[in-house]
């Protein structure tokens, strides 16, 4: 975490090349100093007059960047105060940034039923495949952890942990900005601030986080003070002056905090289970999720032809066999698209045109040099006439 390869580069000049390559090899002993300079080791005398690069110690390549100063590079303009005001509408957990306005649980109920329930279910209880918003057991253990969030769908527990506003979300201001910016799903940003306060009030009331009373009215001041049950359910700490050091410490101990492997090479043991002793075994797919879109297919074949009925049956044959001469009049042939030329040709009658095409005329060989059937040739002629009207 916070791995500063850019800093490495700054300190070591162009050594990124060397660092990258040294680290890239499977064993440290193969790192070479040769590649740390500005050029790779090369040998002259390539057949093209250039050099060849040796393939040695498993390495071969490079990145470089411009080291000149970029100080003073500046484009764009200062935004106006109104422009910043128009876009800077986010809200922080302490409520700063929330707009004026208010909305009641009663109005929220009405709006929710009309615009939200179709996806999120009655009362936010889910069931439509979209996220469940309300409900879930919020009881806490002696350490203040919401007990149901410890549910693991292994080791015998079958209930999934429920991640609702009441059981999981850390701060309530997010609910306001979420609804205002991104909901309703198909018409985001269509609700007024008052309406957003109302829906926020309604959802918080469902979990008893604010008063479950139609008359209850939520506004900026009240929302700023709402503390959600799982406020302390997250780590590492990201608040206060030590936040970034706390994060650094957390990610510094990844083995403890995230899990890590070991480079055992022979006769390795991998015990698991709750007791750390259970022998591993091979688990196969029980119910394969195979309803993918588009369906699985691996053939290297031609895609099915889309017959939309719009393409003339002779068009493809024309393009692959006749267009080389008939696309323009450069070869003396009537050009497709040249209305007058084809009117003149057709004066002799369609049967004669078919006949000449099949048997050849002037510079044109029989059937234009193809081995197509007579009917196919006629189709092509029809297309050429059609395309020249």
């Amino acid at each position: 975490m916070f791995k500063l390869d850019r800093k490495l580069v700054t300190i070591a000049g162009v050594a990124l090349v060397g660092v990258t390559l040294a680290l890239s090899t499977t064993t440290a002993k193969t790192a070479t100093a040769d590649v740390a300079g500005s050029l790779y080791k090369s040998k002259p005398g390539a057949i093209d007059g250039g050099v060849t690069y040796p393939r040695e110690n498993g390495t071969y390549t490079a990145y470089k960047y411009n080291e000149q100063s970029t100080k003073g590079v500046s484009f764009g303009r200062t935004p106006t105060a109104n422009e910043i005001k128009a876009w800077d509408i986010d809200a922080l957990p302490d409520g700063s940034g929330l707009p004026e306005g208010e909305g009641s649980v009663e109005l929220g109920d009405e709006l929710y039923e009309a615009q939200c329930a179709v996806c999120h279910g009655d009362f936010g209880a889910g069931g439509q495949g979209y996220p469940q918003l309300t409900g879930g057991n919020k009881d806490k253990d002696e350490n203040g952890v919401i007990i149901t969030l410890k549910n693991q769908r292994v080791y015998g527990s079958t209930d999934a942990p429920k991640r609702t506003i009441g059981t999981y979300w850390p701060v309530a201001t997010t609910l306001f900005t979420y609804i205002r910016d991104a909901m309703p799903y198909a018409h985001p940003k269509s609700l007024s601030n008052d309406e957003v306060y109302a829906i926020t009030a309604y959802l918080l009331a469902q979990d008893g986080i604010v008063e479950d009373d139609d008359e209850y009215v939520l506004n900026k001041e009240k929302l700023s003070k709402v503390v959600l049950p799982n406020r302390n359910g997250f780590y590492p700490n990201i608040d206060g002056p030590n936040a970034q050091e706390d994060i650094r410490a957390f990610f510094a101990d990844r083995a403890k905090n995230l899990g890590a492997g070991t480079r055992c090479m022979t006769d390795c043991k991998d015990p698991g289970g709750q007791d750390g002793k259970t022998e591993p075994f091979v688990v196969k797919i029980k119910y394969e999720m195979s309803d993918v879109v588009p369906p699985y297919a691996y053939a290297k074949d031609l895609p099915p032809k889309k017959d939309d009925g719009l393409q003339h049956p002779g068009k493809e044959g024309y393009e692959s066999n006749c267009a080389v001469c008939h696309k323009t009049d450069a070869m003396g042939a009537p050009a497709v698209g040249d209305k007058h030329a084809w009117e003149a040709t057709l004066k002799q009658g369609i049967d004669k045109v078919y006949h000449n095409t099949i048997n050849g005329k002037g510079g044109m060989p029989p059937k234009g040099g193809t081995s197509l059937s007579d009917d196919k040739v006629k189709e092509i002629v029809d297309y050429m006439i059609e395309a020249s009207k």
Binding site: D5, W87, A182
Partner: protein, 433 residues
């Protein structure tokens, strides 16, 4: 075979007659390429002119923007109702066909994509990027102005923190694409954010940056200032061309090595502040609930990871015969630094051998690994285990589960196991207890 007959129909009758007579033996010949001396008949693909060799091809600019061969039409992103909300494909994710990729660069059309409110289509002429908050000099930039800044280009992996989320409780999907396809690697070009900030006078109390998208979901995330000033970029090009709409055209944030959700697409606003924002996608989602009942928040870098791409369920070994020398190949990546190496196990993790890295080995990018293997036609439990220069070793399923449980959704990097049967079939299994 059918295509060959098409060729004949468009060429000469005599050849078609010939094929009618030889079709049955040729069918055998075409599938017996491994032993030419035992062919019953000569390969028709060699003995006769082809359709493409006996006709005029397309005009040079038939496709002014080139398209893949039509024969590659099955190489596409795939999604699943499981990767969406209630099957709605506006808030969903579509996966890269890893089995069909080579090297470390993902073609733009195959780069995995995740949206929270559909793929937005931004008019670049109306695009504005605002940078404000705790800076002396806030600015607003047009796209052209942003592109006036000196550019930087890096090859970087982007991985959704939900990659393999379906696999926490056991194997679920039967293909590499669906197991690990929420990632891709591309060459990204843009401006290093520090270059812009150097002139804006960042105030000392600025500790956090909010990055906000302009799509319907108004995706936003908070990043710590240290990362912002290190290697975060604002990018507008992907593999040499403008970003695709699916990747946030015209501009997205790029936080090298960190979960792709932080790399906000359709980027609109960067605000500097002294406190984190607690945006919706860093509280209600993208926090990893552990078995302790508490959740990891601000989960930044993607962990050291790897997967064998050949063989894989889509690219099995059914055509191999005992004694064939075959390459085992895979992808490895880490958000923490640079890959140092990969080990391979044939027995489900009891014993390991060192594979070799190949190609470009770049920080925070896909790296290829390779191992030459003599196929023995016996059942295998094939695994890869990566380690990086930040002292991370990829964990087993048990090792990861022991610390974080199975309900975390995000940042799963446990070792993947392919079961190879004695006839070369490959399937997704897990070694776990």
């Amino acid at each position: 075979m059918n295509k060959t007959f098409e060729v004949e129909e468009s060429n000469s009758v005599s050849r078609r007659e010939f094929f009618k007579k030889t079709a049955s033996v040729s069918a055998v010949a075409a599938t017996s390429i491994i032993a030419p001396t035992t062919l019953l008949a000569d390969d028709e693909n060699i003995m006769h002119h082809t359709k493409w060799g006996t006709s005029l091809g397309d005009e040079v600019n038939k496709n002014p923007y080139g398209v893949p061969s039509l024969y590659e039409h099955n190489v596409v992103r795939r999604t699943s109702p499981l990767m969406s909300s209630a099957g709605d494909m506006h808030a969903a994710i579509s996966m890269t066909p890893l089995h069909a990729l080579k090297g470390i660069i993902t073609p733009n059309g195959l780069h995995f994509t995740r949206t929270h409110n559909g793929v937005a289509h931004i008019d670049p002429n109306k695009y504005r990027l605002m940078i404000h908050g705790l800076v002396e000099k806030p600015i607003v930039l047009t796209l052209d102005q942003l592109k006036r800044y000196p550019s930087e280009t890096r090859v970087l992996v982007l991985e959704c923190p939900s990659n393999s989320a379906a696999e926490w409780k056991g194997p679920q999907f039967g293909t590499l694409q669906m197991v690990k396809g929420m990632m891709a690697c591309a060459e990204w070009t843009g401006v290093r954010l520090k270059t812009i900030l150097d002139e804006l006078g960042l105030k000392p109390e600025a500790k956090w940056m909010l990055a906000e998208g302009s799509d319907g979901s108004e995706m936003s995330r908070t990043l710590p200032i240290e990362k912002v000033l290190d290697d975060v970029m604002v990018v507008y090009a992907q593999n040499g061309e403008a970003l695709r709409d699916e990747q946030g055209y015209p501009v997205r944030l790029m936080a090298p090595g960190w979960e792709a959700n932080l790399c906000v697409k359709w980027l609109k606003r960067l605000e500097f502040g002294d406190k984190p924002w607690y945006a919706k996608e860093e509280t209600s989602k993208y926090t990893a609930l552990t078995a302790s009942g508490k959740a990891i928040q601000h989960f930044y870098a993607n962990e050291v990871n790897s997967v064998i791409t050949s063989p894989c369920p889509e690219k099995d070994w059914k055509d191999l015969k005992v004694g064939d020398l075959v390459e085992i190949e895979g992808l490895t990546w880490t958000g923490h630094g640079t890959i140092e190496g990969v080990d391979i196990s044939f027995d489900g993790g009891k014993n390991w051998v060192e594979a070799q890295l190949k190609g470009l080995v770049l920080p925070k990018a896909w790296t290829r690994f390779s191992y030459m293997y003599k196929y023995e036609g016996k059942p295998l439990l094939l695994q890869s285990r990566a380690y990086d220069d930040s002292n991370n070793v990829q964990p087993t399923v048990n090792q990861e589960k022991a610390v974080v449980g199975v309900e975390g959704v995000y940042h799963r990097n446990a070792i993947v196991t392919w079961k190879v049967t004695d006839n070369g079939e490959v399937s997704n299994v897990q070694i776990r207890s």
